[in-house]
């Protein structure tokens, strides 16, 4: 790791100003930045720490919905009763992430901005396309954990598990930059490798996420996040799904189905939503929606199992969301 300046601003505006200088990086919990720096993947000249910045640790019901400050830790998120009651998918996702130790440090903003876990990307001796090279080694190489959708250019999977959960709750990502504040609907927050190979999120240089606003459940509705891991303590998802629905009588309406860990960015599955909308969300309907969710998968040599797994994962997320809606 190389030496760097340590900058401790007091406000988000000051943080943005500090980061305007080239080569500087924001540090939330540091659970991703530090490993990136240790392995030489990032060598910032200055680190701007975001702890204690005004307004970035709030978690409250506002006119925008539930506003979650970007410096809120995953631990705070998954112990909050408002989140549990109104954003169950977000609650599930935060609780499922990493370990208690990591959750105590890792922040909402950092979770959305973390870099992919692809072992070629993370290996210092591979100049893969994401690092400016001209090859995606995962296409011919060891691709058990890689993408099964949209994977012709780069085979990373997006590692954020809050991402799909936020999307299921129609989140808006609020960012502050040199040119002021922007509000980015979560659907537009992700950047595909075909658009820009060097990033996964739609932040301009020097822009900082200050908060995320989510639409809380209302009426007879429920949401859930389901992730499958090889290991139950501290492991990245093999497949994930966030689902939300509202019950209109006994029929599902306003369905959201977002899948994660299967493509370079989280994917909303509108075809699957259409299958479920207007149907009683029972096991058969959930399987039918899941079939629609996996349609078009293009697995690689070693990850076809993820298609089978994703199908069940979508089904289970839907059934949990439906059960919660019935209880609400």
């Amino acid at each position: 790791m190389k030496n760097f300046d340590w900058i401790t601003p007091a406000t988000p505006e000051a943080a943005v100003q500090a980061a305007a200088q080239a080569g500087r990086a924001f540090l939330g919990g540091g659970t991703d930045l530090l490993p990136l720096m240790k392995s030489g993947l990032r060598e910032p000249t200055g680190v701007v720490q975001l702890k204690g910045l005004t307004g970035m640790e709030r978690l409250e019901l506002t006119a925008d919905g539930i506003t979650i400050g970007a410096s809120i830790t995953l631990a705070a998120l998954c112990t909050d009763t408002l989140v549990q009651r109104s954003l169950p998918a977000v609650f599930d996702a935060a609780r499922h992430a990493a370990t208690p130790l990591v959750r105590n440090r890792a922040t909402v903003g950092g979770n959305l901005c973390q870099r992919p876990r692809c072992w070629y990307f993370r290996h210092p001796d591979y100049a893969c396309s994401k690092k400016g090279g001209d090859t995606c080694y995962a296409i011919e190489g060891e691709n058990k954990f890689h993408a099964i959708f949209d994977n012709t250019t780069c085979n990373i999977v997006h590692p954020s598990n809050l991402g799909p959960a936020f999307w299921a709750h129609d989140a808006v990502v609020v960012v502050l930059g040199p040119k002021g504040e922007r509000r980015i609907p979560v659907a537009e927050f992700w950047v595909r490798p075909e658009e820009d190979m060097r990033t996964e999120v739609a932040l301009e240089p020097g822009e900082l996420i200050t908060s995320v606003s989510c639409k809380p459940l209302s009426g007879r509705s429920g949401s859930a996040f389901e992730e499958v891991n090889e290991k139950q303590s501290y492991d990245w998802g093999l497949v994930a799904c966030a689902a939300r629905l509202t019950l209109d009588g006994d029929k599902a309406s306003d369905v959201r189905i977002v899948i994660g860990a299967v493509a370079p960015v989280p994917l909303r599955r509108e075809a699957a939503e259409a299958v479920l909308n207007g149907k009683v969300p029972n096991e058969a309907a959930a399987w039918a929606a899941a079939d629609a969710a996996i349609a078009g998968a293009t697995p690689l040599r070693d990850n076809a199992y993820k298609v089978t797994m994703l199908r069940a994962c979508v089904k289970n997320a839907i059934l949990t969301a439906a059960a919660r809606a019935r209880k609400s």
Binding site: Y137, F145, K231, Q232, W236, L238, Y305, T308, M309
Partner: protein
């Protein structure tokens, strides 16, 4: 028989199988413990003597050693799996501020990614990293074969220049023709190919050494499982007298077989320290630890087994391929258990050289891989003839201890509730499986222990070998406390400094059975001296004195408290040395173990949850029940990791290990743990004066096999390859579905 020798009668074995033996033992040896022995300290549950130091951080490991003026050493490493080295130039590296020395590691060819090419020492870690980045190495990259399938392919690149093929091995095994003919005649023949993965040792504490010179004397702090081995290897490498070297390993953060040797880095640390005139620390990082410090070889085991209709084992042929990387020794032990007719086995072992770091002994070398394959064919054979797999093992296993373990374990796991293979339905399906193990672990010379009794009544026991974390130090203290009739708190134990008496390398589960008898003998001899003083003081016969409950007295109660007796010591201390004798007659020539597993398979995701493991293990007379159970737990956990998670992943394109970390190299955490029920057998095995046998290795052998059997039972399909991850379980389920 010399005039001093005496005859003793012992009862060996265990309740269900008692054996009376008569021995002649020399005067300086205490009467060996046996089945009739009554203990007050031995066999209890004792926290390890250094538990407080460990949990408070007072225990200093090699990584914690920081000396004034100390430099940091490290390596520039080759980024290619196979290459010719054109040149290595450290001139620019030496210009980096803080870089003090560079030693090119002369060679002309690199055979695995991450092989060191140049060592450096610098004043800070940052300067070291900057220096490493400036080492100019020019390579001519060669084609590689980093994976076993690549190395076995036609026209594969040759890993070793001087060989015609990457494959070397035993060729046609003896009995091959007989076995082939017998298989033809067998009532039933079962065939299967089982595969196991490369597992790395993944010790929490990476390989590390600190070297410090005082004139021509060298002190080495090193994380090792062979303090005396390091001393002689470094003496050899540096051509200096062993007498000038002190090796210290006070605490050890895991070795599992990867830390027998001094390692290239220890001698390099000493050379860098010499060149710089300052102490040098080399501590490998996690990537280096995974790629360049050893691993358990993988295996491909093609088996054919003949079985009679009444379930007796017949002819057995096995062809085993395995890779030691660029090293040697990749054999899997198959078969190593069950009553195979002797002339009807044909076992071929083939080593496959690959462009990967050399293998190293790992916890029960050869056994877990052999066990997985063997128990697979056993389960498949039982299924083929419609026999319960436990019954099939019982009728093919004559070991009396395991027979006891089969029936005890079956009761504990609830085997009678086990359903027919594949009869469970629904998303979550449960199943049970069983696997067996055998191991030596008898120990032997060379081990010597000093026992000192001081005038203040305190007692010290010392040996220069290391406690690699198993609790050997505490074992010595327990044995000495028992012999002297004292509570454990009265005995201080020291290990891990070669200035103390010689001890074994911690391998083959031999540390405890080697040093415990020497410790007991030392305490016996020291106690005898003290008894002589008491006898003289009280005017009684020394032979009538017993050391019990903190007193030295006759059966009638005439005597002194231990502390009072110690005040009779004139010279300041009594000191005696015990020496490990060769083994006398044993009950069995090794230890026996059986494990049962119950799993629950999530058939939608292919995930396996291990619900329960019942581990039944013999380790001779148990000295410290708490630590013995801890060894069983540790073995089961490492076995579970081998069964379900751990696997070194090598990139077929460029030959790097892709998961040289603790993120994608998966080691189980708390939520992955089953309930582990540990059943220990106090077997008086004889062989040494304490009847202790090792327990470190055998406990990791059958876990994966038992889990594999349980998965088979749950889903009605066999996963033939380790680790049994969700993708493979889903594939097995799909194959079963399509076969219907």
């Amino acid at each position: 028989m010399s005039i001093e020798d005496r005859k003793v009668k012992l009862v060996l074995g265990f309740a269900a199988d008692r054996q009376e033996v008569e021995l002649t033992i020399p005067d300086e040896e205490p009467t060996p413990w046996d089945l009739e022995s009554k203990f007050s300290v031995v066999g209890g549950k004792h926290a390890r003597v250094d538990a407080l130091a460990k949990v408070t951080g007072r225990a200093k490991y090699t990584h914690d050693i920081n000396l004034p003026g100390m430099l940091f050493g490290g390596f520039a490493r080759c980024p290619h799996a196979a290459a010719e080295i054109t040149s290595v130039d450290a001139a620019e590296a030496l210009l980096v501020p803080g870089v003090k020395a560079a030693i090119p590691m002369t060679q002309d060819r690199v055979r695995y990614a991450g092989q060191p090419v140049c060592a450096l020492a610098a004043t800070t870690r940052q300067a070291l990293a900057a220096g490493i980045a400036k080492v100019q190495a020019v390579y001519k990259v060669l084609p590689h074969a980093a994976r076993i399938d690549q190395a076995m392919a036609d026209a594969a690149p040759l890993v070793h220049r001087n060989q015609q093929s990457n494959l070397s091995g035993s060729g046609q095994p003896r009995n091959a023709e007989t076995v082939a003919a017998e298989l033809e005649k067998s009532a039933k023949v079962v065939r299967a190919t089982a595969r196991t993965q490369v597992q790395t040792h993944a010790s929490m504490e990476t390989h590390s050494s600190v070297a410090k010179w005082d004139g021509d004397k060298l002190t080495l702090w090193t994380s090792t499982q062979a303090t005396f081995g390091v001393r002689s290897q470094v003496a050899d490498a540096l051509r200096i007298p062993e007498a000038n070297i002190t090796v210290i390993c006070d605490f050890m953060g895991g070795g599992f077989g990867s830390k027998f040797g001094a390692g290239y880095f220890t001698a390099i640390a000493a050379r860098l320290a010499q060149e710089c005139g300052a102490p040098v620390k080399i501590a490998l990082d996690r990537r280096e630890e995974h790629t360049d410090t050893g691993n358990r070889p993988d295996s491909i085991q093609e088996m054919a087994l003949g079985v009679s209709t009444d379930g007796k084992l017949g002819a057995y042929s096995v062809k085993i391929h395995g890779t030691p990387g660029i090293g040697r020794g990749a054999g899997a032990r198959n078969p190593m258990i069950y009553d195979f007719p002797r002339e009807m086995r044909a076992v071929a072992q083939v080593e496959v050289a690959t462009n990967a770091g050399p293998q190293a002994a790992m916890r029960a070398p050869g056994h877990p891989q052999g066990s997985f394959a063997l128990e697979t064919i056993m389960d498949l054979a039982a299924e083929a003839i419609g026999m319960d797999p436990l019954e099939f093992r019982r009728i093919n296993d004559s070991n009396p201890v395991r027979l006891q373990q089969y029936s005890d374990g079956a009761k504990r796991i609830g085997w009678e509730q086990r359903r027919k293979n594949g009869s469970a339905t629904g998303r979550f399906r449960r199943g049970m499986g069983v696997g067996s193990s055998t191991w030596g672990g008898l120990g032997g010379p060379q081990a010597e222990v000093d026992c000192k009794i001081f005038r203040d009544g305190s007692v010290q026991v010392r040996n220069g070998a290391q406690d690699i974390g198993t609790g050997a130090k505490t074992v010595m203290a327990v044995v000495v406390a028992e012999e002297l009739g004292l509570p454990l708190t009265k005995v201080s134990a020291f290990m891990g400094n070669t200035s103390d008496p010689i001890g074994p390398a911690s391998g083959g589960s031999t540390t405890a059975p080697s040093i415990a008898p020497a410790a007991r003998q030392a305490a016996y001899l020291a106690g005898r001296e003290l008894k002589a003083l008491v006898a003289k003081h009280l005017g009684v016969n020394a032979d009538k004195l017993l050391m019990k409950a903190g007193r030295i007295s006759t059966a009638e109660g005439k005597g002194l408290a231990f502390e009072e007796a110690c005040r009779l010591i004139q010279s300041g201390e009594i000191s005696a040395r015990g020496k490990r004798r060769s083994n006398f007659r044993t009950y069995r020539d090794g230890v026996a173990g059986v494990q049962f597993a119950e799993v629950e398979v999530d058939c939608e995701y292919g995930l396996v949850r291990v619900v329960r493991i019942v581990a039944l293990q013999d380790a001779g007379i148990i000295i410290n029940r708490l630590q013995a159970e801890s060894q069983v737990n540790g073995g089961v956990i490492q076995g579970l990791a081998y069964a379900l998670m751990e696997e070194r992943v090598m990139d077929r394109q460029r030959g790097h290990q892709l998961n040289a970390d603790f993120e994608a190299y998966k080691v189980p955490g708390m939520k992955d743990m089953p309930e582990i029920e540990c059943v220990l057998y106090d077997i008086a095995n004889g062989g040494n004066n304490t009847s202790v046998c090792g327990i470190g290795e055998p406990t990791c052998i059958p876990t994966a096999s038992a889990i594999a059997g349980a998965i088979h039972n749950a889903i009605g399909a066999r996963v033939l390859s380790l680790p049994m991850t969700a993708d493979k379980v889903l594939a097995a389920l799909a194959q079963r579905e399509s076969g219907k």
